[in-house]
Amino acid sequence: MSSEPSARPRRYLAVWFPWLPSDRLRRQEQRADAPPEDAPPVVLAEKIKGALRLAAVDPAAARAGLTPGLALADARARSPALRVVAHRPDLDDALLGRVLEDFGRFTPMIALDPPHGLILDVTGCAHLFGGETGLMRTVQARAERAGLKIRCALAATPQVARALARFGPGGRFEPGQDRAAARRLPVAALELSDKEDEALRRLGLKRLGDLDDRPHAPLAARFGADFPTRLARVLGDEDMRITPHRPPAPVVVDRIFFEPISAPEDVERVLSDLLVETMDRLDQTGLGGRAFEAGFYRVDGETRRIVVRTGRPTRDTPATLRLFSERMAALAAPLDPGFGFDQMRMSVPWTQVLAPAQQGLERETPGEEAFSRLVDRLTARLGPEAVLRFEPFASHIPERAARLVPAAVRHGDETWPDLDPDDPPLRPLQMFDPPQPVETLAEVPDGYPLKFRWRRVLHEVTRAEGPERISGEWWRAPNQRTRDYYRVEDRDGRRFWLFRQGLYGETPEPRWFIHGLFA
C-alpha cells in the first residue's frame, strides 16, 4: 500500500458480506431462494479451546439472539431446533475469491477486504455501468444472483467506504458528503481493540464526530501516536490506495513458433525442451510436479490439453516425457495438428514440495522408486482405475481384511498382520468370493469336518486344525454370525479352508462353506 495523495479524486466501492458463511452454506445446498419462515436457525460452529462455539450465524439465528462467540451448548439451550454446521472459513474464503474474480469485471483494481469484504477502486469505471448508482445496482444484482447478501458503500477513500458499509447505513456518498456521514459513525468504526473501544465509550466519546471535534494531541497521548492517523483515515482525510489482487502465477512455460510445427518428432522435441525448462523452474523453488499439463494451440484457434499425473512429486524430465509419450500413444482421439501448432505451453497446476534426495554413495536403492515409476507408467497408460493393489483393512473378517485400491493412491496406516515365520500360513492363497456352500459331516459342537462334499466330489479329511473363531462385526450389522474356520487336508493331500457359519444349538442351523484353497 502507499499513502501518497492521489492526483485526482478517486472513488471506492466497499462491499461487505454480512452473512457470508450462512449464504455460502445455502448456496452449497442449492437453495438460492430465501429459507421458509419456519426453517430452523442455522449456526456455524467451531471448536475453540475444547468447547464448541458459534463462529457465524444466519439472520434467523441472529433474530433468535444468537451471536458469534456464544457457546454452542448455550445457543442450543436457547433454541433447541438449531441446525449446526461445521464452520468452514476455507470455503468462505474460496467463495469470496470466486466473487472477487467475478467482480473483476467492474474494475481490475479490486482487493480482498477481510473479513468478508471486497474493496473496488472504481475511479473512472462507473460510466460503463450507467453511473455510480447503476454500478451499485449492478453489483447488488450480481451478488443477489449468487445468493449473497451484501451492504456496500461508495466513497472517496477505501477506509471511509469500508466504515460506511460496515458500521453505517451503506449507500453512495458524494465527495464531501462522506465526511459528514463518517462523523456520525460509532467509534467502533475505528476498529480498535475492545478495550480501547470501551474506554472511548466510557469517556463519552461515542461517535467519530466527538473525537474529530477535540484537539488531537490529548487523544494521541491517550490512545497512541497513530490514533489521529487512524481517525483521519476513517474520516477520509487521508487516502490509502488498495493493492489489487492478482491470482498467483503457476509455473507456466510457453513456446511460440514463427512457423507452425506439426511433425510428431518436432512436437516431442519441443515438449522435451519445455519440460527441461519447467523442471528447472521447479528445482529453483524446491517443488516437484504432481500433474503436468501440455497445451497445444493450433493456428486455427483450436486448443488441445493433455494432462499426466505422477504418484509422487517429480522433477524427472525423461520420466515425465515418457509419461507424455505413453499417454499420447494411448489417446482415444489422437493429437491432430491440423495446419500445425503455433504455440505450446507446459504448465504445472499441481505442485508439491520435493526435497532434493541425498544420493547413496554405494548404490542406488532400487525397489520403491522403480516400483513407483512402473505404477506411474501403467497408470498413465491404463488409467488410475485399472491399476490396483491390495491394501490391508482393519478387520478380522477374512474377506474384509484386504481391499483393492488404485495403485497410485497412497496407502493408509494399516499394516498387514505380523505372522510368526515359524508358523504355517493361516490364510489361503486363493479365496472364494463369495464362499461356496459345502455339505459336511462334522463333530458337534465345534469339531472339524470329517468328510465334506464340494462340487459333487466327496473329500475325506485326514488332518485338520482349528477352529479359528471369528465373531461378527456387531457395529455393522447386528446379527452377523460367528464363524469357525478350519484348515483341513484330504486324503489326496489337498488343503482347504472351510468354515462353519453359526454355532451348534443356534437357530437357524449352522451352515458350512469353503472359503479358500491353500494348495
Binding site: A73, G204, W475
Partner: protein, 1129 residues
C-alpha cells in the same frame, strides 16, 4: 431364570476387571458372582499393575456369603452427604440365592495383580501366598508407581525377581512363544517352586499346536502348566462393550480399530466342562487351578489394622489417656462441672469406646483438631461419632450435648460393625496446613490420601461412546447436554428427544444403550479431597501408593469404601468455605469492635436470630440460603436448634420425593394432629413410637428414623433392619421389598397396631427411598447455620465483609450480599476508593455500627499485589492526585485504568470519566531499566504539561451503574431497574414490592433482573428469581411452558413476566408465569446517551447487522452489563 452350572473344580486365575482401565469390561463383584454361578471353585482377580479393584470383589464375596446376592451399586446422586442412589445388580437372581450362598461359603477369592512390564517381558500374574507376600507385592507396585507419571507403573522383570518370596507367579505366554523359555528359566531360578506356566486357548486356530508346545516347554523347565482363559468380561454378551473400551483406549472409532479388537468373544468366565473340553490334551492344567487356590492362604482379612501410636503419650494406654483427656477437657467446657446428664453420657460413651477399642481413633482426631486450634484454624466435626459428648468435650464439635440430648443417642446405638465416622471440616483456605501437618506427623510412608475412583458419568460416557461409534461431535455434544442439573444417572428417551434427536434412530439408540452400560465404570484413580489413611507400620506394605497429579502428593489405590470395608482407619480432612467466612467474621469483630468469639461461645438460642430466619432473610447464611430454603423458612418457622437440623435436612430430594414435607409442615403448623398410634396394650408401652418420631412430629425425616420404626414397632432385628435398608434403597423389582412389607406390616398388626397406620408407615418408608440426609450431619451443619445467622444478625457489617472476602462461595453474587447487608442489616456501605480501600473489604467508622468499605478485590481482574502496593504507599502519606498515586504506588497502567474504570478516584475529586481521561495519559508500561531514567524525566515533564480541558460530556447515572456492574459486578449508585423504571412504569409493569402487595389471584406484569434460575428435583417446574430496586419476586414456570419460552428463560438477563400472584398462608408470594418476555435489550439503555428519548422499538439486528466486535472466545461476562445468573444447566 438363570441356570446354575454344575459345581466343579476349576478356578479362573487370570481375570481382568474394569479396574484394568479400558480393558476389562466387568465390575469386580460381577466377576465374583458369575464365577460362583458358574460353579467355579474360586477366582483370582489380577488387574494390570494395580490392586484397586480387589477390595470390591472381596467385600462383594462377603456380602454374597450372607445374602446370596451381590451388593447394589452405590451412585452419588447429589452434592451432600447421604445423597446416594443404590442400583440393583442385574446379575442377581433371588431365586438362586440360597444355592449361591451355599457355594459362596467355599468359594476362594485370590487377590493379586497382573504385572505388565516395561522391558518387553511377557505379563506375569502374581498372587501373594501369605501376608508377607502381599506386602512385597504392594511394595513392588509402589516402586513402579512412584517411578512413573500419575496413572502409570514402570516395573521390569528384574524388580520382580529381586525379591519374589511368598509370591506365586504365573507367566502368561504372549502370541509368539519365541524366547519364552528363557524368561521361564530366569523365573524358576529366582522363585523355585512358585512359578506356573499359563495357557489360554482362545480359538485362534492353532490352539492344540500351541498347547502342545507349552506343555512340552513346561515339562522341559519343570514347572506346572496352568489352564487360564485370561478373561476380560464375565459373559460373552459383554464383548461389544469390551470392543468399545478398546476403541476408547486407542482413541479410534470402531470402524478403524479393526484388528486391535479381539477377534472373537471367547474371553469370558467359561463353565468348568467347557474348560475341560478345551484342555482335553492337558487335563492336569485344569486340575492345577484348584491346587493353586489351596496353596495361597492370604486373604484381605489378614490385613490387620494397627492404630498409630503418636497421639498417646508414653506410659499411657489409649483408653486411659482418652479418659484422662476427657476429664481434663470437661473442666474447660463446663467450668461449673458437667451437668449430671452429660456426665452419665460421657461415662456410657467411654465404656462403649473401650468395648470397641476406638480410643486411638478419637485420640488421633483430637490430635488433628488440637493442631488446628493451635494454628487458629476453625474446624467442625460431623458424622455419627462426631455427635458424641466425648467429641464435644474434646472440641471436635460445638454441638452441646447438654442442650440437644437426643441427638447423642445415635453414636451409642450405632451398629457394631459400622466403622466410626467423623469427618472434620476445616477453613477451606487453610486446610492445606492441616494436610501437611498430618504428613509431617505420621510420615509419608505411614500416611496416604485415599483414592477417588473417577467413573463414567452420563456426560463422559455418551461423549466417548459417541466418538467411538462415529457420531459427530455435535450429536454427542447434544446428547451429553441433555442432563438438567446433576440428578439422575440415566439417559432417558425423553431427554434424547429434548435434545432434538430421534430416540428411535438406531445409531443414537445404540450409543445411548452402550453408554448406559458404560456408566459407573472406573476410568482412572484420582486423589480424594482429604481422606487420610494412617497406619502404625509401613503403609506401602498394605496398599500400593502412587503419584498424584499434584507435585509432592501421593495417594493409595483404595478409595473410602474400600478402606471402610477393610476397617482401616481414615480421617477426613475436608474443606468448608463457610468456616473461612466465619473465621474472617470473628477476626473482623475482634479487630473492629473488640468482641471475641469461637464456634462454641456464640450465645445459643437467641430469639431475634430465629426471628430473622423466620422472615426468610437468610442470604449468605450457611446451607439455608437457596431459594427453596428461603421459601421454606417462613413455613417451617424455626424457633430452636433442632428446627434448624430439620430445616437443613428437609429441603432435600429424599423428603421432597417421599412427600414428607407437607405432612410435617401441616403438623408443625397445627393443621394436622400429631398422633402416635400405640401398639396393643399387651405388646409394649403405648408411646414406643413417640420416642422415635416425636422430634419430627411423627413424620420420619431421617433415614435412621425409618429403621427405628421398623425395629421398634415391628420388632425387626438388626439384620432384618439392614436388609430393609438395602431393599428400600434399591427398589428390588423381584419383591424383596415386598417381603419386608409383609413382614413389617404383618408384625405391626400382630402387635396390635392399627392396620391402616401400619400400611401408611411402610408407605412413608418406601417413599423415603434411597435418599437420606443423615441426622448427624444435619446437626453439625445446623450449628453452622445458627452461628452464621447469629453473626449476620448481630454483626451484619462484619458478616457481609467476611462473606465478600471469602468469595467465591455460597449462592449469591456480591451485589446481593451487599444489598442484603444494607437492607436487612442496615449497614452503610461505601464505595471502592483509592484513599480508603485495601485489597480486602474492610470495616471503618464507629465501633458499634461499623461501615462496610468495599475492597479492591471486588474489581474484576485487579491484582492483590497492586492493592498491597497501593495500601503501602497510602500509609506513608495520603494521595493528592492521580499522577502522584501512580508514581508513588508504582502501579502499571493496567492497574490505574482498572481503578479509574471502577470509579475509585472520587476522593481525589475525579469521577469515573475524568479519572479515565487522566489515567489514560499515564505512560503505558513499565519501562526497561535502561529507559527508566528517561521515563522519569518524561513523567516529570508530563506533570508540568498542562492540557486544554477536554470538555468530556457528563456521564449519566445509567451509564455509571452499567460501568459499576461491568467492573465490580455491583453498584451502590442505583439499581439498574430503578433507572429503567420510567420505561416499565409507562407499560404498567409492577415493581417487585407492588407485586408482593397484590392480592392472591391477581394478574400482574412484573419485570426484574434475573438472579437465579433453578430446576430442582424431577424438573416439573423452573424457578426464576427476579430482582429490582424494591426487592425480589419468585416466579414459577411449569415445565410445559419451557419449550415455548426456552429462549427467553435461558437467555434473558432482564425478564418480564405476566402471571398470577399466588400467596401461601405464611405469606410466601409466587408469580405463576403465563407469558415470559426477554427484556434484556433494555439494559443497553443504561449506557446510551439519550435517556430522554426513550423509544420502545428495539435495535433490529437483522436490518442493521454489525460486524461481530468480539473475538469468539471472549468471556461472556466482559460483554454483558450484568453478570450471568446462577444456572441450572
Amino acid at each position: 431364570m438363570r441356570r446354575l452350572d454344575p459345581c466343579g473344580a476349576y478356578a479362573e486365575l487370570a481375570t481382568a476387571s474394569n479396574f484394568s482401565f479400558l480393558r476389562g469390561a466387568s465390575h469386580p463383584k460381577d466377576l465374583v458372582l458369575t464365577a460362583i454361578q458358574r460353579g467355579h471353585a474360586g477366582l483370582g482377580l489380577a488387574d494390570r499393575n494395580t490392586v484397586a479393584g480387589v477390595v470390591r470383589a472381596w467385600s462383594a464375596l462377603k456380602e454374597i456369603r450372607v445374602e446370596g446376592l451381590a451388593p447394589p451399586d452405590r451412585m452419588r446422586d447429589g452434592g451432600s452427604p447421604g445423597e446416594i442412589a443404590f442400583i440393583e445388580d442385574p446379575l442377581n437372581d433371588p431365586a438362586l440365592s440360597e444355592e449361591v450362598k451355599r457355594r459362596a461359603a467355599d468359594f476362594r477369592l485370590l487377590t493379586g495383580t497382573r504385572l505388565v512390564f516395561n522391558d518387553g517381558t511377557p505379563d506375569v500374574i502374581a498372587y501373594p501366598e501369605t501376608r508377607a507376600g502381599w506386602g512385597r507385592l504392594t511394595r513392588l507396585l509402589t516402586l513402579g508407581n512412584r517411578r512413573a507419571r500419575k496413572g502409570e507403573c514402570e516395573i521390569g522383570l528384574r524388580d520382580l525377581l529381586a525379591d519374589p518370596e511368598e509370591l506365586m507367579l504365573i507367566l502368561v505366554p504372549p502370541n509368539r512363544l519365541t524366547g519364552l523359555e528363557e524368561v521361564l528359566l530366569r523365573m524358576t531360578e529366582a522363585a523355585p517352586g512358585a512359578v506356573w506356566l499359563g495357557a489360554a486357548l482362545h480359538r485362534r486356530g492353532d490352539d492344540r499346536r500351541r498347547l502342545a508346545r507349552l506343555k512340552a516347554m513346561a515339562e522341559r523347565v519343570d514347572v506346572r502348566l496352568l489352564a487360564l482363559n485370561d478373561i476380560l468380561y464375565a459373559t460373552p454378551d459383554d464383548r461389544d462393550l469390551q470392543d468399545v473400551l478398546t476403541c476408547i483406549r486407542e482413541g479410534a472409532t470402531i470402524e478403524t480399530t479393526g484388528r486391535r479388537l479381539e477377534a472373537n468373544a471367547e474371553r469370558w468366565l467359561k463353565p468348568e466342562d467347557e474348560m475341560a473340553r478345551l484342555f482335553k490334551d492337558a487335563p492336569e492344567a485344569v486340575a492345577e487351578t484348584t491346587a493353586f487356590l489351596s496353596r495361597a492362604t492370604f486373604d484381605l482379612s489378614n490385613l490387620k489394622y494397627e492404630y498409630p501410636e503418636e497421639p498417646v503419650p508414653p506410659e499411657w494406654e489409649p483408653q486411659s489417656w482418652l479418659e484422662e483427656l476427657v476429664r481434663r477437657r470437661t473442666l474447660v467446657r463446663y467450668p461449673d462441672g458437667a451437668p449430671p446428664k452429660v456426665a452419665t453420657l460421657l461415662n456410657r460413651e467411654l465404656e462403649f469406646i473401650a468395648e470397641r477399642s476406638l480410643a486411638p481413633y478419637f485420640l488421633t482426631i483430637h490430635d488433628i483438631v488440637r493442631t488446628a486450634e493451635n494454628k487458629g484454624i476453625l474446624c467442625q466435626g460431623r458424622g455419627s461419632a462426631a455427635n458424641s459428648a466425648v467429641c464435644y468435650v474434646l472440641g471436635i464439635t460445638s454441638v452441646d450435648p447438654a442442650r440437644h440430648d437426643l441427638l447423642f443417642e445415635r453414636f451409642l446405638s450405632s451398629n457394631r460393625d459400622e466403622p466410626p465416622d467423623i469427618d472434620v471440616d476445616f477453613e477451606h483456605e487453610r486446610r492445606e496446613e492441616i494436610i501437611q501437618y498430618v504428613y509431617d506427623r505420621y510420615g509419608r510412608h505411614r500416611a496416604g490420601i485415599a483414592a477417588t475412583v473417577i467413573r463414567y458419568r452420563p456426560r463422559s460416557a455418551i461423549r466417548e461412546v459417541g466418538k467411538v461409534l462415529g457420531l459427530t461431535e455435535d450429536v454427542t455434544a447434544r446428547l451429553a447436554s441433555t442432563q438438567w442439573g446433576s440428578w439422575g444417572s440415566e439417559i432417558s428417551g425423553r431427554q434424547i428427544e429434548q435434545a432434538g434427536l430421534d430416540a428411535a434412530n438406531p445409531m443414537v439408540d445404540r450409543a445411548v444403550r452402550m453408554a448406559t452400560r458404560l456408566l459407573d465404570f472406573p476410568r482412572h484413580l484420582s486423589q480424594h479431597v482429604g481422606g487420610f489413611v494412617l497406619t502404625q507400620g509401613r503403609l506401602d506394605e498394605t496398599v500400593p501408593i502412587g503419584n498424584a497429579a499434584m507435585p509432592d502428593r501421593t495417594f493409595i489405590e483404595w478409595d473410602k469404601d474400600d478402606i471402610d470395608a477393610l476397617g482401616l482407619m481414615k480421617v477426613d480432612v475436608l474443606a468448608l468455605g463457610m468456616l473461612t467466612c466465619i473465621r474472617k467474621a470473628f477476626d473482623l469483630m475482634k479487630a473492629h469492635s473488640g468482641v471475641e468469639h469461637d464456634l462454641a461461645s456464640v450465645p445459643p438460642e437467641e430469639a431475634e436470630v430465629y426471628d430473622m430466619l423466620c422472615r426468610g432473610q437468610s442470604i449468605g447464611v450457611f446451607q439455608v440460603e437457596s431459594r427453596a430454603q428461603i421459601n421454606m423458612l417462613p413455613r417451617l418457622k424455626p424457633r430452636e436448634f433442632y428446627d434448624l437440623v430439620i430445616q437443613v435436612a428437609i429441603v432435600r430430594p429424599g423428603p421432597i420425593q417421599g412427600d414428607m414435607v407437607h405432612p410435617y409442615l401441616r403438623r408443625r403448623n397445627g393443621v394436622e394432629k400429631v398422633h402416635y398410634p400405640p401398639p396393643g396394650r399387651l405388646y409394649g408401652p403405648p408411646d414406643e413410637l413417640k420416642q422415635v418420631l416425636h422430634r419430627t412430629l411423627g413424620v420420619p425425616l431421617f433415614q435412621e428414623q425409618a429403621m427405628k420404626v421398623a425395629m421398634v414397632a415391628a420388632r425387626f432385628t438388626d439384620a432384618e433392619a439392614n436388609g430393609l435398608r438395602k431393599a428400600m434403597g434399591t427398589f428390588r423389582g423381584d419383591g424383596t421389598l415386598h417381603t419386608y412389607e409383609d413382614r413389617m406390616v404383618g408384625r405391626m398388626i400382630a402387635r396390635g397396631y392399627d392396620p391402616d397406620f401400619a400400611r401408611r408407615c411402610f408407605e412413608q418408608i418406601k417413599g423415603f427411598g434411597s435418599y437420606g440426609f443423615p441426622e448427624s450431619h444435619a446437626a453439625s451443619f445446623a450449628r453452622l447455620v445458627y452461628v452464621s445467622s447469629w453473626i449476620k444478625h448481630r454483626h451484619p457489617a462484619a458478616f457481609a465483609c467476611a462473606l465478600l472476602n471469602s468469595q467465591p462461595m455460597g449462592f449469591y453474587a456480591p451485589a446481593q450480599i451487599v444489598r442484603e447487608a444494607q437492607e436487612v442489616g442496615g449497614v452503610e456501605v461505601r464505595a471502592i476508593d483509592v484513599s480508603h480501600s485495601d485489597w480486602d473489604n474492610s470495616l471503618e467508622g464507629p465501633e458499634k455500627v461499623p461501615i462496610l468499605r468495599l475492597g479492591l478485590r471486588q474489581i474484576d481482574g485487579f491484582k492483590e499485589d497492586w492493592a498491597k502496593a497501593l495500601s503501602a504507599a497510602r500509609a506513608a502519606a495520603p494521595f493528592a492526585d492521580v499522577e502522584t498515586l501512580a508514581r508513588r504506588a508504582e502501579l502499571p497502567a493496567a492497574a490505574m485504568r482498572k481503578l479509574a474504570d471502577a470509579d475509585a478516584f472520587r476522593s481525589l475529586g475525579q469521577d469515573r470519566r475524568q479519572a479515565l481521561w487522566a489515567v489514560r495519559r499515564l505512560p503505558d508500561d513499565d519501562p526497561l531499566p535502561l529507559f527508566a531514567a528517561a521515563e522519569a524525566r518524561e513523567r516529570g515533564a508530563r506533570e508540568l504539561g498542562a492540557e486544554p480541558d477536554a470538555h468530556l460530556p457528563l456521564m449519566p447515572l445509567g451509564e455509571h451503574v452499567a460501568a459499576d456492574y461491568q467492573t465490580a459486578r455491583l453498584s451502590l449508585k442505583a439499581h439498574p431497574m430503578a433507572i429503567l423504571r420510567p420505561v416499565f412504569a409507562a407499560e404498567r409493569v409492577l415493581t417487585c414490592a407492588e407485586t408482593e402487595a397484590k392480592r392472591g389471584g391477581s394478574l400482574v406484569q412484573v419485570a426484574g433482573v434475573v438472579l437465579v434460575r433453578q430446576r430442582p428435583g424431577k424438573g416439573n417446574a423452573v424457578f426464576v428469581t427476579l430482582e429490582d430496586e424494591t426487592g425480589i419476586t419468585n416466579v414459577v414456570l411449569w415445565a410445559r411452558m419451557l419449550d415455548q419460552y426456552r429462549r427467553e428463560i435461558m437467555g434473558a438477563r432482564l425478564m418480564q413476566i405476566e402471571g398470577l400472584v399466588e400467596k401461601s398462608p405464611e405469606g410466601v408470594v409466587h408469580v405463576v408465569a403465563r407469558h415470559v418476555i426477554d427484556r434484556s435489550a433494555e439494559l443497553s439503555r443504561l449506557s446510551e446517551d439519550h435517556e430522554t428519548n426513550v423509544q420502545l422499538a428495539r435495535a433490529d439486528i437483522i436490518a442493521h447487522p454489525q460486524p461481530p466486535r468480539h473475538p469468539p472466545h471472549r468471556h461472556p461476562r466482559d460483554v454483558r452489563i450484568l453478570p450471568g445468573s446462577r444456572d441450572f444447566h
